[in-house]
């Protein structure tokens, strides 16, 4: 299964929903999408850059170290910009990969998208994705 990426919102927060395999072959696509969300230009009606991002890995079937590397890159970039990244994942076989590498100590990982919003309230979300409606889209 190839990678498929969809953006949505949950409680006003931007969510990137990932389906399929994140591996050495598809990781560049995920990286590109993260870059586009975080670095996109502000103005001319374009949505503002995302600072508080949720990545939903619930439908990820395979994740390798290259995929981990891209997630780590996204986390570091967001933190450098004063933002947050929360991962959504409840699958044991994917969680195991974070545990083995010790990266579960670096990422905030929650089981549902709803829990993601509670985990990082982002009260100072003035630079958030305000083009998104406050209600969830699911």
């Amino acid at each position: 299964m190839e990678l498929s990426l969809q953006t949505g919102t949950v409680a006003g927060r931007t969510v990137l929903r990932v389906t399929g395999e994140i591996d050495v072959y598809t990781a560049p696509e995920l990286r590109q999408r993260l870059l586009a969300l975080i670095e996109r230009g502000d103005g001319d009606g374009a949505p503002p850059p995302v600072r508080h991002l949720v990545i939903d890995l619930s439908k990820v079937e395979f994740l390798d170290s290259t995929g981990l590397g891209v997630l780590v890159g996204g986390l570091k970039r967001l933190r450098a910009l004063g933002g947050t990244l929360v991962l959504v994942c409840a699958q044991a076989r994917i969680l195991k990969i974070f545990q083995i590498t010790g990266l579960d100590g670096i990422f905030t990982i929650v089981p549902t998208e709803e829990a993601a919003v509670a985990a990082e309230p982002a009260a100072e979300d003035s630079t958030g994705d305000q083009s998104a409606p406050p209600a969830t889209d699911r």
Binding site: E21, D23, V24, Y25, A27, P28, R31, L34, L35, I38, E39, F62, D64, S65, T66, L68, G69, V70, V72, G73, G74, K76, R77, A80, R93, I97, I100, T101, G102, L103, G105, I106
Partner: protein
Amino acid sequence: MPTVRLGFSPAPAHVRTARLVAVAVARRAGVPEELLDEVRLAVGEACSRAVALHQLYHRKELVDVEMTDGPRFTVRVHDRGPAESRADALPDPVELVAHSEDIVTAEPFPAATVAVGMGLALLTGLVDDLEVTPSPDGTGTSVRMSWPIA
């Protein structure tokens, strides 16, 4: 002599083929179903690592994967990276993260050295019987992994 041998040019797309073949051969060899996810991930990591090393050192040779049946199902992945890439000191992924480049660097995936280190760390945590050694012929390294057969 291996049961199945796969060589592929060092491109990320072929890593999926290697994973697919490893799981099919492992299943037929009798590796228990509950270990097949581990085989898939481990062989993928070892092959991604080899691809990253070939790309880093501009080696065009095929990455070589050997699968041998029983008494354990054994997979060997050979790369042509220089000997320095040996896992003398196993990297700590958390350390690697601290030193990794920013997401904004233009590279197609995170700096190859970071990917290689992260992959090795994952492999080490994942596979009970794992050995990383210089190749017998002196070029590159060999990752050897094995799993029980039911």
